[in-house]
């Protein structure tokens, strides 16, 4: 019977507040909580369910990275995977590791392990690339069922219901195939203590990318990482003196009254919408007084 390969990625935990490094070379990862990419959890769950339904025989969890990714593989084992493969990548190679390199590794492993299916999360929550599944299928020349919200194996084919912009698309693809898991595919189980104990005894094989004949050279160089621009605070205005309006380029002094000076796009100004009125407010008009005076401050201490 069939064997399924599941890729799992170790990422910064979704609940952590991300901080950019002071040198803007990346985000802070030291001492920060990491866990399995949520879409990879869904992929593992689907693979384990296929095994429980006896559609497939063995689930192999794969992760690429330094020593720490073994924790992620152990979590997959605790969820029900049978054995793990740790592809050792560290240092600069790990920093430059991207979907192209990972898909080459997964393609090589899928051939080596004679897998019938490769199940991956649709994307990782750190890079949001959404490329690895597709590239892996292309390298293997296998069909792909991406954004799967339902997977049903029927003999030598798989029926995949895909989540697309217009709704749901149902396709039938031949095995072997690559499937990527979307959010609604299933609800992953929590690893229980007894299963965590059992997982400690399951095997994790170590492999180097060179052994698989994979070249890790990246064609992408990260130049700089920045936080999104800070949202400016809005303010309540009671009116603007005309001398504040300094812009007279192109004859566009807005002190001339409403609707002069072309369309005013409030969306560009990063401030909350003013009170809705019959026409867009011109800032140089005396705006209606904002009543904050009505608060009751008469508490007795």
């Amino acid at each position: 019977m069939a064997r399924v390969l599941v890729g799992v990625k170790r990422v910064i935990d979704y609940a952590v507040k991300i901080r950019v490094k002071p040198d803007h070379s990346g985000v802070v990862t030291d001492g920060v909580k990491h866990s399995m990419n949520p879409f990879c959890e869904i992929a593992v769950e689907e693979a384990v369910r296929l095994k429980e339904k006896k559609v497939i025989k063995e689930v192999v969890a794969v992760s690429c990275g330094p020593q720490q990714v073994q924790e992620t593989i152990r979590t997959a084992l605790a969820m029900g995977a049978d054995r793990g493969i740790h592809v050792e990548v560290s240092g600069k190679d790990y920093e430059a590791l991207g979907p192209l390199q990972v898909s080459k590794i997964l393609a090589a492993l899928a051939k080596k392990e004679e897998a019938k299916m490769v199940i991956l999360g649709k994307q990782a929550i750190d890079d949001d690339c959404n490329q690895t599944g597709q590239m892996t299928a292309a390298l293997l020349d296998w069909p792909q069922g991406t954004f799967a919200s339902e997977v049903a194996v029927e003999g030598d084919t798989v029926k995949v219901v895909r989540e697309i912009d217009g709704g749901l698309e149902t396709i039938k693809i031949n095995l072997p195939a690559v499937v990527t898991a979307d959010l609604r595919l299933n609800t992953p189980r929590y690893a229980t203590l007894p299963n965590i104990m059992k997982a400690k005894k399951k095997k994790i094989a170590k492999v180097k990318p060179a052994d698989l004949g994979v070249d890790l050279t990246s064609r992408v160089e990260v130049l700089r990482v920045d936080e999104p621009p800070q949202r400016q605070a809005g303010g309540s205005g009671t009116g603007v003196e005309s001398e504040e309006c300094t812009d007279t380029q192109e004859g566009l002094c807005l002190g001339d009254g409403p609707n002069q000076g072309g369309p005013v796009s409030h969306g560009d100004w990063d401030k909350p919408e003013p009170e809705p009125g019959p026409e867009p407010l011109c800032v140089c008009d005396p705006a209606p007084p904002v009543s904050t005076e009505s608060e009751q401050w008469d508490t007795v201490l």
Binding site: A15, T192, G235, D270, K271, T299
Partner: protein
């Protein structure tokens, strides 16, 4: 290009206007204290930074109410400390100026515990949200007040551990400790009282101490007075809880849910007692009365038989579950139970328990446009049939809508009163009904509040429940720990 210049101009202008407005707010005088609040606010800012203090009306309103029907009583200021040291410094300032302190977690309480009826400063503790110390092998973890129960369980998901106390809302764990909260699986895992090992507390005068000693987390202890359980349930009237060390449990290997209907309330409760007596470590045992089931059928388009119903959940290994379910089915059949159905996988279990999950909304849907209020009495299990039957008679006689849902394994049940807030007669009748219900429970050796707390509305009932001498002891403790009565005044006592 033009618009960029325009935008910069306008932002500068708005900032200046905003600043002018803010300083006008800051200079506002307050009724009794004159410039005190102004001085105090600048002292607060020195501790927390400018963004840690707010006088905004909307912010204060949000911090003056919880999920109860009590009206909003906003505090004068809201502060967001970032650490226990800041909490202590802020408390010292309040203590010096005699300003009330109201701790605030998630505002999901049900008894008006955060209403600032005497004004004061709301300490909104949500920014202190670290999981500080997890000891997987020892099954304990220490959390700050901003950590909610769902956030903690999400944090723990890879470890095989969980914190099982699950009140309806996604509440702050320290808030749950403050109200001695409980959940649907208290029958097996206990309430907050049994699951808090240690607390870090800041008293009204700024003193920081640990109820069991710093860093202590032993499963059991006989060292000194049990201060931990003094503060559990104190509802912010004795001190501010800034860290809680909690006891964790292993995530159950397998879960089975079941549902069974009964011909009478007595039959359902008898089954509950017998299940517990049989030593079955049942995890959840929830009771819905016929009115509630009918409401759920209508709301969720289900087809349960309209009769008193038990919703059961079993945790354990695969083999032990088979045994538990078999014995339980025998017991329920012996009491006239019918339609016993059970499920193993997550999705079917969810569907089976859907009625139980939707009770609040199903009750409200009985009379659209009305508000809901939940009663919360708890009696010894053997008294449950009597109190439920009498309560249902009371509801019918007074033409009140009050479907019943309860944690029958603890003897705790809730009447989900649905009332029209614009009908003063009905509001009166509901009010009197809840008092009668509480007194009925007290007469049966029970308590007026099983899990929601005393808060604002049940202080008179507390006095009736514990009696004048016990009240004196409680008041003595309060006077010792908070002599100026600054900690959440007007609540509990």
């Amino acid at each position: 290009m033009t618009f960029i210049l325009l935008r910069q101009t306008c932002l500068r202008t708005l900032n200046r206007t905003g600043a002018a407005l803010q300083s006008r707010i800051d200079q506002r005088t307050y009724a009794a204290r004159g410039g005190t609040l102004e001085r105090v606010v600048s002292a607060f800012r020195a501790v927390t930074g400018d963004d840690g203090v707010s006088l905004g009306a909307t912010v204060r309103e949000q911090h003056g109410k919880d999920e109860s029907a009590h009206s909003c009583q906003p505090p004068d200021v809201v502060v967001w400390p970032h650490s226990v040291e800041e909490v202590s410094a802020l408390a010292k300032i309040c203590h010096h100026h005699r300003i009330p302190i109201i701790p605030f977690g998630t505002g999901t309480g049900l008894e008006g515990g955060v209403s600032a009826i005497k004004g004061g400063v709301c300490f909104s503790l949500g920014k202190m949200d670290r999981v500080v110390d997890l000891h997987q092998d020892d099954f304990d973890v220490t959390v700050e007040p901003g950590v909610t129960r769902k956030a903690l369980n999400s944090y723990l998901r890879g470890t095989g551990l969980w914190f099982p106390v699950d009140p309806g809302a996604d509440a702050s764990l320290c808030g749950m400790a403050a109200t001695s909260a409980s959940g649907t699986n208290a029958v097996r895992y206990g309430t907050m009282r049994e699951n808090v090992l240690n607390l870090e507390v800041v008293l009204a005068d700024g003193t920081i101490f640990h109820t069991a000693g710093r860093g202590r987390r032993s499963r059991k202890t006989s060292a000194g007075y049990n201060l931990t359980n003094l503060f559990v349930g104190s509802e912010g009237t004795l001190g501010i809880l800034t860290k809680a060390t909690l006891r964790l449990y292993g995530i159950p290997e397998a879960v089975v849910s079941a549902v069974c209907s009964f011909p009478s309330v007595q039959a359902a409760v008898d089954s509950t007692v017998q299940i517990l007596q049989a030593g079955i470590p049942i995890a959840r045992i929830e009771f819905l009365d016929d009115v509630m089931i009918d409401a759920c059928n209508r709301y969720s388009a289900l087809s349960y038989s309209v009769a008193p119903t038990l919703f059961l959940e079993f945790h354990g290994s695969e083999r032990s579950l088979e045994e538990q379910v078999t014995i339980t089915e025998e017991i329920t059949r012996g009491n006239g139970g019918s339609d016993f159905s059970w499920a193993r996988d997550a999705e079917t279990r969810g569907r089976l328990w859907k009625a139980r999950h939707d009770v609040w909304y199903a009750a409200l849907a009985l009379r659209p446009g009305c508000k809901g209020y939940s009663t919360d009495v708890c009696v010894p299990i053997s008294r449950l049939p009597q109190i439920i039957v009498e309560t249902k008679e009371d509801l019918t006689k007074n033409r009140l809508t009050g479907p019943i849902a309860g944690h029958v394994g603890d003897g705790n049940f809730h009447c989900l009163m649905v009332m029209d807030p614009s009908d003063p007669d009905e509001v009166q009748r509901v009010h009197h009904f809840t008092e009668r219900l509480a007194r009925r429970a007290l007469a049966l050796d029970g308590t007026c509040t099983g899990e929601h707390g005393v808060g604002l509305g049940k202080r008179a009932l507390l006095r009736e429940e514990v009696g004048p001498l016990t009240m004196e002891v409680m008041q003595g403790l309060k006077a010792t720990l908070d002599p100026k009565n600054l900690m959440n005044p007007g609540k509990v006592l």
